[in-house]
């Protein structure tokens, strides 16, 4: 049964995935994000996304009515494997899929699911995440952006920061304070609004990697209908943390999106071997082996979880473990590439054999252990929620 599905997937991909979409983009931010103002890094990206969406394969496990293909976990895994086999580019890189959709499925109402999910599946609307504020980063629950109750709507005032793709997104899912007279975790609500709403101002911030995919976002009397609040008033913190566990999984898998050059082979090309076929630089050889060992163990750990749902039951807090280790590993990998490529990797526009933007990716990887909750915060969560420490 699975084999015939695999054959079908393989044949379809062979027919519909153009060669240009069988390579990873030089940076993750060059994946197609969709939306009303879709930024196209390669002219074939929109058609590839549309073709995949027509099969429901941008969100293979979602129900068909919301734009998915209703695939079982096993079939979705087969689809992923077949895509990986040919190096197919992820057709849609979307916070709507990875972060907001789990929230809508669990906490949203039918009307919200119908209104938002199909557009997310097709990549018609792009979403950004309004969580962090200048004075509320790790201590997210201290956030100050106010939402004043005006009967059928809220008026939102305040500021968000580090909003990834805030300048390209169409809508924002946003944490706001709806009640200031209760403990900080209890006065938060989760709302959705169009970035075109009057009173929303976006200002891009440049990253050390030279790109500027994140922004400051200011709110001045922004009107948000109450029908766009997900869950109950004051339920925002529970929703926020539920979303964060999905965000962490997404971030820790970022390292897997690129199909980078094999570091061992690359090191051999650059350094050559000693008389006995070993990489000439013994210290680099050891660093490489240690990295590859940990990377293999990590990959298998994730795969065991994917293959055996019961093994990943209660993943909520475990997603912190995955995020922590995966992002630290990704940073190690980028440092390793730098060691291998040497001074060449520090040229802004240097590209690796698979088109990797060495310098930019290396710099960007430093953010992996900050975004979505820092490594230190993940360790706090593991200590408290998994290990039960006081």
């Amino acid at each position: 049964m699975s084999d015939s599905f695999r054959d079908e997937v393989r044949a379809w991909l062979a027919a519909h995935c153009p060669p240009s979409m069988r390579v990873a983009p030089p940076e993750i931010s060059h994946l197609y994000g969709g939306g009303r103002r879709a930024k196209v890094w390669h002219p074939d990206q929109p058609a590839w996304c549309a073709a995949m969406a027509s099969r429901g394969w941008t969100v293979p496990e979602w129900p068909v009515e919301y734009g998915g293909a209703g695939l079982s976990r096993e079939h979705a895994a087969i689809l992923r494997e077949e895509m990986r086999r040919i190096g197919a580019q992820q057709p849609l890189f979307s916070f709507g899929i990875s972060m907001l959709s789990p929230v809508l499925f669990k906490f949203g109402n039918d009307d919200q699911r119908r209104r938002f999910l199909p557009d997310i599946a097709r990549g018609a609307i792009r979403w950004c995440q309004g969580y962090s504020e200048p004075n509320s980063g790790s201590d997210l629950a201290s956030l100050m952006t106010r939402a004043e109750d005006k009967g059928d709507h809220y008026l939102v005032n305040g500021q968000k920061i580090w909003t990834s793709y805030g300048d390209e997104a169409d809508w924002m899912f946003c944490l706001v304070r709806t009640n200031t007279s209760v403990p900080k975790h209890e006065g938060i609500s989760f709302v959705l609004f169009d970035m075109n709403t009057p009173g929303v101002t976006v200002r891009p911030i440049k990253l050390i990697s030279g790109a500027s995919p994140f922004c400051e976002v200011f709110f001045e009397n922004v009107r948000v209908e109450k029908t766009n609040r997900v869950g109950e008033e004051g339920q925002g913190w529970a929703i926020a943390t539920y979303l964060l566990s999905h965000e962490r999984e997404m971030i820790s898998s970022l390292g897997k999106i690129r199909h980078d050059t094999d570091p061992g082979r690359r090191a051999l090309e650059i350094f050559g071997t000693d008389g006995e076929g070993r990489l000439r630089n013994a210290s680099l050889r050891q660093t490489l082996a240690r990295y590859q060992l940990d990377a293999a163990a990590f990959r298998l750990w994730i795969e065991h979880g994917e293959r055996h749902p019961s093994a990943s039951a209660g993943m909520g807090a475990m997603s912190s473990a995955v995020k922590y280790y995966g992002t630290e590993l990704n940073k190690r990998r980028n440092e390793l590439y730098l060691d291998i490529e040497g001074a060449d990797a520090l040229l802004w526009d240097a590209r690796g054999p698979a088109g990797e933007a060495w310098a930019r990716n290396w710099l960007r990887s430093k953010g992996n252990s900050i975004e979505g909750g820092t490594s230190e915060i993940q360790l706090n969560i593991i200590a408290k929620r998994v290990l039960g420490l006081p």
Partner: protein, 382 residues
């Protein structure tokens, strides 16, 4: 997110845990350590273990085993690791029976494996000759004679050597130390003329020592028929996966005991587990143990599944990975365990400090992390 056990494995693991807690726990370890006899293991305990059927877990049904594979045997080893149980399981079953299973003829398997399963035959593999595992650096000679084979040489760090019935000796039939080919494997009775043993105390309170073979003569039937460099590497792979399983038990036990201590011990008026410096190290340690379990499981599965050259190649690689990773994580585990216990962790009376000694012995056996990382790099082609 580590793999769930099958029902059969779950039952096995539970019955081993119960048995070991009762019959081969740290209390028994201490009593045995402080014994005055020169025997290597408690043979009454070994008979009981054999009666439970655990010696035959990874042995084919044709020879009296239960064919549950190395994944099954590893569950036993893991519990032995948790309780520091002293048994001849590693020497006799993991190394000895595997050598015969992998390289013995039908006749050889029929004559020895059933006796291993029922506990009546104990073995020890005499392979290494130095302080670092080097599978082909074998100088011990095997010369063909009219009567069979004549062996001479010296083997170091041979386990359980005063008490086992036979030694499985790796010796060189041709070539020079270091050559991949030219090795033979011989099953040598302990009481053969020219065999002498000398036990040496080791940090983990197990017995090991030097085996000297002085023109020992064995007949042709004692020479395993299927010895190749690849088969020897496969044997080392199985042994390393098994040792990794025992190390996993040590990692999990030291972690569990330390976590408990973090929740009991107070300083400065607070539980020490409330200090972030310790919380973060405990959390990191936890993740490493998860990865350790994953890689051991994967190596064992690969061994049990391997049917062709590609399968064996993958298994071989994963066994080296498992051993390297477990050596690292066991080092982290046993070091952190002592540190987080403070002074009491350094005392002989308190159990936590016992684990580090067993862990280092297991790490060194059949290649430490450097050996296996070096091997990994070579297998990866760099």
């Amino acid at each position: 997110m580590t793999l769930p056990l099958t029902e059969e494995q779950e039952m096995l693991s539970r019955s081993v845990a119960e048995f070991v807690a009762d019959r081969a726990s740290i209390t028994q370890f201490r009593a045995w350590r402080d014994r005055t006899t020169e025997t290597a293991f408690d043979s009454a305990l070994w008979r009981e273990i054999a009666e439970m059927g655990w010696c035959g877990i990874a042995i084919d049904e044709a020879y009296g085993g239960s064919a549950l594979g190395y994944s099954g045997l590893a569950l036993v080893l893991e519990q032995f690791g948790r309780h520091l149980s002293i048994t001849p399981m590693n020497a006799t079953v993991l190394a000895g029976a595997t050598a015969i299973s992998l390289m013995g003829s039908e006749t050889q398997k029929t004559s020895w494996l059933p006796a291993i399963v029922d506990g009546s035959l104990t073995l020890s593999l005499a392979w290494g000759e130095g302080a670092h595992f080097a599978p082909f650096a074998v100088a011990t000679r095997a010369e063909k004679t009219a009567q069979g084979w004549q062996l001479s040489g010296v083997k170091h760090h041979v386990e359980d050597l005063s008490s086992v019935d036979r030694f499985i000796v790796v010796a060189r039939e041709s070539g020079r130390p270091g050559d991949r080919e030219g090795l033979g494997v011989f099953v040598v009775p302990h009481d053969a003329k020219g065999v002498s043993v000398e036990a040496t105390p080791r940090v983990d309170a197990r017995q090991c020592g030097t085996l000297t073979l002085d023109d020992v003569v064995v007949d042709d039937g004692c020479r395993l028929t299927g010895v190749t460099s690849v088969a020897l590497e496969r044997l080392a792979g199985v042994i390393n996966a098994g040792l990794a399983a025992e190390l996993l038990g040590i990692c999990e036990e030291t972690f569990a005991r330390t976590l408990k201590y973090l929740k009991e011990r107070s300083q400065f008026g607070k539980l020490i587990g409330s200090y972030q410096a310790l919380q973060h190290r405990a959390a990191h340690w936890f993740v490493e143990v998860q990865l350790a379990r994953t890689i051991v499981q994967e190596a064992l599965l690969a061994l049990d599944r391997a049917r062709d050259a590609e399968g064996y190649r993958q298994a071989d690689m994963l066994c080296s990975m498992a051993k390297a990773k477990l050596a690292q994580v066991a080092e982290l585990s046993t070091n952190e365990a002592i540190q987080m216990h403070g002074g009491i962790g350094m005392t002989d009376a308190f159990d936590i400090g016992l684990y580090i000694k067993r862990a280092r012995v297991l790490e060194q056996a059949y290649g430490d992390q450097h050996h296996h990382l070096d091997r990994l790099a070579a297998l990866e082609g760099y």
